[in-house]
Symmetry: none
Subunit: 136 residues, 4 copies
């Protein structure tokens, strides 16, 4: 786990993690959040839907963004102020989601760090967005 | 589970759910996302931190927003296009998070529904934001 | 979540939900209940058994009945008085269990609602039974 | 785990297990079944309810019956044909549920064993019922 102070940070710094999304992840995410949308938990419904199979919760991938921010950049001790998410494409069981966060601006006076956050599968973005963190 | 068409929806319609956040929820959310930020899973670290005890992941409450949107309003068959989140205050173990979503605009031509999304604890907002959904 | 009073209810009203049963569900159900019957958790034992593969716990599907009663019909605030279950056929990993509950009688004076409860896979009943609820 | 044949069984034989029900059990049971009844997962709602605090799912205790039948008596290799459940009293977080099953009749020709099944907390029955098992 990284342990930066705000003085260690620079625009352009980047961190990444990847995780393969499994059926068990979706089952447990549904169970914790109460999101039993049939698109996630009913294979028969999903087969008739636009995406033809069960998809992962978008907020599961958003959790990977949160993990990358907290564990790597800007790392431990950051305070999460905000997140914008645009869901671009579905994530299916077996997909490996690569999450990359890149610093786009730093306000040293206000201790604010803004990062571009991208989740992609096989090089194709599935979520794009922006995180705002405070680094006290 | 609600089953609205876009013609059933009106600006001002609202839905809500509440869930008490438990230590087990935090443990499982950490396990599924990989967000092992010590603020969530290390009670000794948390005791020395700004919040004095372990806090829930912001994205766990974001999952409750996703659940309310999918299960209630705009309900089954909606496609999640985007979400903005501003984290206003921490959620502690034992807090009951009430999530409320309210339609603020509808674009019938483009099938787009925008909702204000608020998570609160004891009447105080912990996350405020906005969801954009497509209702095909 | 539905919020009926007993006056809203009528014989013949029905509600349904469906969930695909995954290996993760069986693992977690075993862990919570302590039912480590090898028919559920030992693939080698199961391969030699009458059903040729691991089967889900019958009480997992019974949990779907409870969920449908509580979340949909007769909905929030009902008190569960009794349940009869007849296990007709096994549920395998990957099966989508559709649970349907239908009101068969209402005693308005005693606030009692009786429902037929059926879990089926691909149209074939796997559990048939009857629930008795109080709706105060 | 016991491994009886039907010839080993006699009317009056009994087996028992006990488990303390925790908040984590309830959270996970809700997650696996989709039963997010606020009586189980919303402490604020529960405080205003008839029981004054969150209660466990009745089907969680039914799972303990299934566990006792499968693990102990009539043990491995039994096939669960049916279960009657009468819910007599709620189970709260921290309660220790003792489950006892006792053989009440045996039909050796049809290989059918019937058992009385009782779950109790501090000596007071919370579920009474009857299981029907086949022992091939």
């Amino acid at each position: 786990m990284s342990n930066y102070t705000i003085d260690d940070l620079e625009v352009g710094m980047s961190a990444t993690m990847a995780k393969t999304v499994t059926e068990a992840d979706i089952v447990m995410f549904a169970g914790v959040t109460g999101d039993f949308n049939p698109a996630h938990i009913d294979a028969e419904y999903a087969a008739e839907s636009m995406f033809k199979e069960r998809i992962a919760h978008g907020m599961l991938s958003a959790g990977f963004i949160s993990a990358t921010l907290a564990m790597q950049l800007p790392g431990a001790g950051s305070i999460y102020l905000g997140q914008e998410l645009k869901f671009k494409a579905p994530v299916f069981i077996g997909d490996t989601v690569r999450t990359t966060v890149t610093i786009t601006s730093i306000n040293e006076k206000r201790k604010i760090v803004v990062l571009e956050t991208i989740c992609s599968v096989a090089g194709k973005p599935v979520i794009v967005g922006e995180a705002t963190m405070m680094k006290p």
